[in-house]
């Protein structure tokens, strides 16, 4: 008799980020205000598009860089600088997965586990990474704050998968044991470079 595929007998399907319970708040960031440069950048952006609302996504990227993640304060700041409703910014920030609503590690490791990658061993890669860096997928940063791991959807590198993304950079190559070690070591040393550069 073959063993069951997973140990959890009745693992309940969980959405990407569990919705907030009544009264629960998103985690707050240490920073509460945008830096003057970021504010200026967002103001320039607003003039670039036919409608200032269109600057919401790029502005949130700037805020994310400034704050480390998109906290509630980051959203409020973006709304204030752009002069758009706070609710709109909150709606947008919570819709898109590239805006991190919770703190992430210095190196945010994202593994695509969708079908093409899964057929080539993405599940094992994810488990291996989680074990090596000591952070569970989707469970926030590791104790030293260096790592966080996330399971993501297709990164458009299906031919060479499983595909890994480190922060904003797609690691565009089949990740074997040696390459993974090398990548993690480079991150630990602090001389990580995006793939291909």
């Amino acid at each position: 008799m073959n063993p069951l595929p997973t140990p959890a007998p009745m693992a309940k399907a969980q959405p990407a980020e569990s919705p907030l319970a009544p009264g629960q708040r998103l985690p707050e960031s240490r920073l509460r205000q945008l830096s003057p440069q970021a504010t200026a950048e967002i103001q320039t952006l607003a003039a670039k598009y036919p409608d200032k609302l269109a600057a919401t996504l790029p502005a949130l990227y700037i805020a994310q860089k400034d704050f480390g993640f998109v906290s509630l304060s980051a959203m409020l700041e973006v709304a204030k600088v752009l002069g758009v409703p706070e609710g709109h910014v909150f709606g947008v920030a919570t819709f898109y997965t590239l805006f991190q609503k919770r703190p992430v590690g210095k190196y945010h490791l994202q593994v695509c586990t969708n079908l093409s990658c899964a057929l080539n061993g993405a599940a094992k890669l994810l488990e291996k990474i989680a074990e090596k860096v000591g952070a569970q997928p989707g469970a926030g940063p590791s104790e030293d704050g260096l790592w966080s791991v996330e399971e993501v959807e297709c990164l458009a590198s299906c031919g060479s998968g499983p595909c890994l993304q480190v922060n904003d950079d797609v690691y565009d190559e089949y990740v074997d044991e040696a390459k993974l070690e090398e990548l993690l070591a480079a991150c630990r040393r602090g001389d990580y470079r995006p793939w291909g550069e």
Binding site: N2, P5, F95, L119, E153
Partner: protein
């Protein structure tokens, strides 16, 4: 900018010859190929644009109509016809028209647009300028998915090159016509590949599809008439203008003209990108080009058009890859992403993984999709974990017709494709799971034991 080419496979023996013309992947794999100088010297760059600007805009649209080019994004709608829906200026009203390029490549199994953006961005830019001339647009947008950050930098550099050469900006090549292209970075939502969701996202809103009508040609980006075309569709336009619509229509099969980039991934020896004339049989791609199964086990199932397409079993492997035949055989051409699974793949686990994707990516706007995808996921989860009941199979089969065609966009239908087709073709695997509480096929671990994302 990258100094290392990605490891995807772009060519095969005979590619670039008469039987397999190379129209979309010229120079792919060569990192210098993106530059304007290379494009102009080696690949007849911007000649089609010069030709088009001497023609009347409507004549350009007619040329594209004559080519019978169909949209490469998934729906396969006639591009020339789509262009002709854009309202013309009248004495009473003049419009601000937009042309939007859909580069939100997120369909699992598809990785073709990035190849064009990486190696031939000028071909896309030229195609956009020609399209904008045909529809007399003032501004174009290229919407790229958020993960394509490195391609965005490259695209910006290519756009600047085009501006410097006078192909973009004011008074393009002395015609008195102004046009410029802006880029826009998405933020990680599969649904933004749907054209109206993309327009919402471009406006800085949540990427929720709009109800149609009004169609984008009437009310699109920022309330103005807009046409949305896929990267590959627009990149085909310079080729059509250069060789002539009628000549282009001779490639492929009648009604399914031209070449298309097929992305093959999964259990094959040579995964990669294969540009083939439409109508090339699937088994030719599978066995002759991609080298057949990489694991030594027979191929059990193939998804012919990206995750949304219902799967084929062995009896349909002879299906010609065009737009109409896969549809007639119960699947769809989709985005050209071919995912290959060998005998050892547990179909229940594969379908569960795909359903999880759709449940995760459902924008939440329409109840049938938002709730239905999660219900299907729960039922599949139950079966996969050995706690399924025989009634669950009928329950699943009764769920899909209540989701498909009952939503604003096609994501609901897409989610039903893998479930329906696998239930029809691999029902015994589901039953085995329920009776024996274990997988029918072992050998590949598709799902991580750690947390579900």
């Amino acid at each position: 900018m990258r100094s290392k080419a990605d490891p995807q496979l772009y060519t095969f023996a005979g590619f670039g010859g008469e039987r397999f013309p190379n129209l979309m992947l010229r120079g792919a794999g060569n990192l210098d190929n993106w530059k304007r100088a290379v494009y102009e010297q080696k690949h007849e760059g911007y000649l089609a644009l010069k030709k088009a600007l001497k023609m009347e805009p409507v004549a350009v649209t007619n040329e594209v109509k004559a080519s019978q080019l169909r949209g490469r994004g998934g729906a396969g709608f006639l591009t020339g016809l789509k262009w002709s829906f854009m309202p013309k200026d009248t004495d009473q009203k003049s419009h601000v028209r937009y042309l939007v390029c859909n580069g939100d490549e997120g369909e699992p199994g598809t990785f073709k647009d990035r190849a064009i953006l990486e190696y031939n961005p000028h071909q896309l830019i030229e195609g956009m300028i020609i399209g904008a001339w045909a529809m007399q647009c003032k501004v174009g947008f290229i919407y790229l998915r958020g993960e394509f950050l490195w391609l965005l930098e490259k695209l910006e550099a290519a756009l600047q090159e085009a501006r410097d050469a006078g192909y973009l900006g004011q008074n393009i090549l002395g015609t008195g016509w102004d046009f410029d292209i802006q880029t826009y970075r998405g933020a990680g939502a599969y649904i933004c590949g749907e054209e109206t969701a993309l327009l919402n996202s471009l406006e800085g809103r949540r990427g929720e599809p709009r109800s149609k009508p009004p169609f984008p040609a009437q009310v699109g980006a920022f309330g103005q008439p807009t046409t949305v075309n896929n990267v590959e569709t627009l990149a085909a336009v310079p080729v059509i203008l250069q060789m002539g619509g009628a000549e282009y229509a001779k490639i492929g099969s009648p009604g399914n003209t031209g070449t298309r980039i097929f992305c093959i991934s999964g259990h094959v020896k040579r995964p990669g990108l294969y540009e083939l004339p439409l109508g090339t049989p699937l088994d030719f791609l599978l066995n002759d080009l991609a080298g057949g199964s990489s694991t030594g086990k027979a191929i059990k199932a193939v998804i012919p058009g990206g995750a949304s397409a219902p799967m084929f079993d062995a009896k349909d492997f002879d299906c010609p890859l065009d737009f109409d035949t896969p549809k007639a055989r119960g699947s769809m051409a989709g985005s050209g992403g071919v995912i290959v699974m060998d005998e050892d793949v547990c179909i229940v686990a594969a379908v569960l993984r795909l359903t999880r994707f759709f449940a995760h990516e459902s924008c939440g706007q329409c109840t049938p999709c938002r709730e239905g995808c999660n219900w299907m996921l729960q039922v599949l989860q139950r079966i996969e974990h050995g706690q399924g009941r025989m009634e669950d199979l009928d329950l699943l089969a009764s769920l899909t017709p209540r989701i498909a065609l009952r939503t604003l966009c096609a994501l609901g239908d897409a989610a039903c494709g893998p479930v329906d087709s696998s239930l029809q073709k691999f029902r015994h695997e589901f039953e085995h799971h329920i009776v024996h509480k274990t997988c029918y096929a072992q050998g590949h671990q598709l799902l991580a034991a750690t947390a579900i994302h």
